[in-house]
Symmetry: none
Subunit: 315 residues, 2 copies
DNA sequence: ACGCAGTTGTCTAACTGTTGTCAAGAAATA
DNA sequence: TATTTCTTGACAACAGTTAGACAACTGCGT
């Protein structure tokens, strides 16, 4: 990605695309000609201009073809199925490692990320995460790189091997990468809208960012409002953007009384047509109390995706 | 000094400009001729006279081209903007011809940014900011777009026309753009290193991010550690990355006793060779108390740049 | 085991697009 | 006076375009 210029102008030449996807320009053109796996724009002079999304898709295709899937078959498959396949395949790293050994699995990426964090090397951390998201596809990246990395940092912190400085540096970089994902996915006119935030007194926004990125990858038009947001503000924002759903992340262990009544207030204010999805460690802990007030509780990113899917079908 | 934004006094020949931007005079003229990427003034005899703004803009463009963006496309992006702001200008307000001074459309950009913020349109806000940075160059962008936009949001908040949700959304996007700048300017071997953070109990990190971006644009290798960082952590990090300087941002109105003693501690811990620069609203308020303990206080981004320049010369 | 048809990555050839650099003589600058 | 910069047009080097060819490989039926 690195740095895209802006969503609609973010266009990369074949050379850059080849470098970032690990394919040769020849292959890139052959795949396009034979299977229409991508449809890059063209410059005035007729040169191909690939979007960030094209690069993601192509990297994913490369990874899957290397694992034995035929490109012809993959080309007929939707992006969604592609990512599902990626998820299934990523568990079992190929038994025969590639000769060059540049085939990173999710574990290698999160190890490299932790390493960069410990060295306070923000540039390297960013590079690692970006590569991971491109080669693995966003859903796999979130589940198997970002989450484990955050967990690793948390663990390192409790063991005393990772300091607050390390943690801040990593959060900053991860926030940036997740923010990038939020805007890489092209939003269509008809995309359902989701408001993502963290309710009052919940200052940890990583969960919310993860949720936002996951939703964006599922094709939602995400409005990300950050942490510690008063209920009336959430309501007003949902109204302003015409949201089809609201998702909140709650991680602090004990759910206080105020929070439950806050959520009740929000639940009521949204009206019956707009669902409220709540996730995060603390949400699972208190699932009963939350479901009883009409809030949908999800235990994992995967479950969150399912909820989004259901919801989208109803819209 | 090279960074002081005073376009009327600072005029540079091609040679100087070439040296500062890292481009050859040939390329400079070619870019101007082919893409109208700059429009330098002329001496009486017709020699090109580049402003500081031109230089900053050109060096940003050079970095972006090195990252794989085509100069033609980059030029197109900022060209669009100049035309657009010019149109809006002539249509809406002052029939007075615009003084080709430093605010060159910066006002239009920050107005557009505020507008996008009010509409909760993160994508548009991002696009506006990115284009502004390419059109104006990083320092001018920071001084005349980001700072006014933040100020405008603050003012809107106190007037009740901007809510917390708007503010959060904007902060998120601005953080991302500033992070992007940090990245674009990275990779320079032998660049002096700067650690940027916010001391304990100072949760507003925007000032620190601005400082980080400004320093990066001046050629520093910035390690950005975020907000609310304990003194021992700052010290340890400065040690770990081998910092040549530490910069802190302090915005909360009242400087408490704890903060002063914290800074004293930090000042002592850094040793005499590593300067400690502190900026932000609250720092100016308490300048005397801070300077007396050996801390350098800066009142503006520009002053911060000067301090960095001095410092760099000494390294 | 063998051959066949389809698949797939790579390559060539001829051409166009993009971009950095240069030449030459005139003019400005220090 | 010695340098530097000016302009215009040209050019080379590289990158990217199409169309088609080719060989290595696949799976499959015999």
């Amino acid at each position: 990605m690195q740095s895209a210029i802006s969503p609609d102008t973010a266009r990369h030449t074949v050379r850059v695309t080849a470098q970032r996807t690990g394919l040769t320009p020849h292959t890139l053109r052959a795949w396009e000609r034979r299977y229409q796996v991508v449809a890059p724009g063209r410059s005035e002079g007729g040169q191909r201009l690939y979007s960030d999304l094209d690069i993601q898709r192509l990297s994913l295709l490369r990874r899957l073809t290397e694992r034995g899937h035929s490109i012809a078959r993959l080309a007929e498959v939707s992006q969604e199925d592609l990512e599902r396949t990626a998820r299934e395949d990523s568990g079992s790293k190929s038994p025969e490692p590639k000769p060059l050994g540049d085939d990173f699995g999710a574990k290698d990426f999160s190890a490299a990320a932790l390493n960069a964090t410990r060295r306070l090397d923000a540039a390297e951390l960013h590079a690692v995460l970006e590569r991971a998201s491109i080669t693995l596809g966003v859903p796999v990246f979130l589940d198997q790189v970002v989450v484990p990395t955050l967990r690793g940092i948390g663990q390192g912190w409790s063991e005393g091997t990772v300091s607050i400085a390390h943690e801040h540096l990593a959060s900053g970089v991860i926030r940036r990468v997740l923010g990038w994902i939020l805007r890489v996915y092209e939003i269509t006119e008809s995309a359902p809208r989701l408001v993502v935030a963290t309710p009052p007194r919940q200052a940890h926004e990583m969960g919310a960012m993860l949720a936002g990125a996951a939703a964006a990858a599922e094709g939602w038009d995400v409005t990300y409002l950050g942490a510690d947001l008063p209920i009336p503000e959430i309501l007003a924002s949902a109204g302003q953007v015409g949201a089809n759903g609201v998702a909140l992340s709650i991680v602090y262990p004990a759910i206080d009384r105020g929070l439950v009544s806050d959520l009740e207030l929000l639940r009521g204010g949204l009206g019956s047509r707009i669902p409220l999805i709540v996730g995060g460690y603390a949400a699972s802990q208190d699932r009963d109390r939350l479901t009883s007030i009409g809030v949908q509780v999800v235990d994992s990113l995967d479950q969150f995706r399912e909820s989004l899917d259901d919801l989208r079908d109803r819209v």
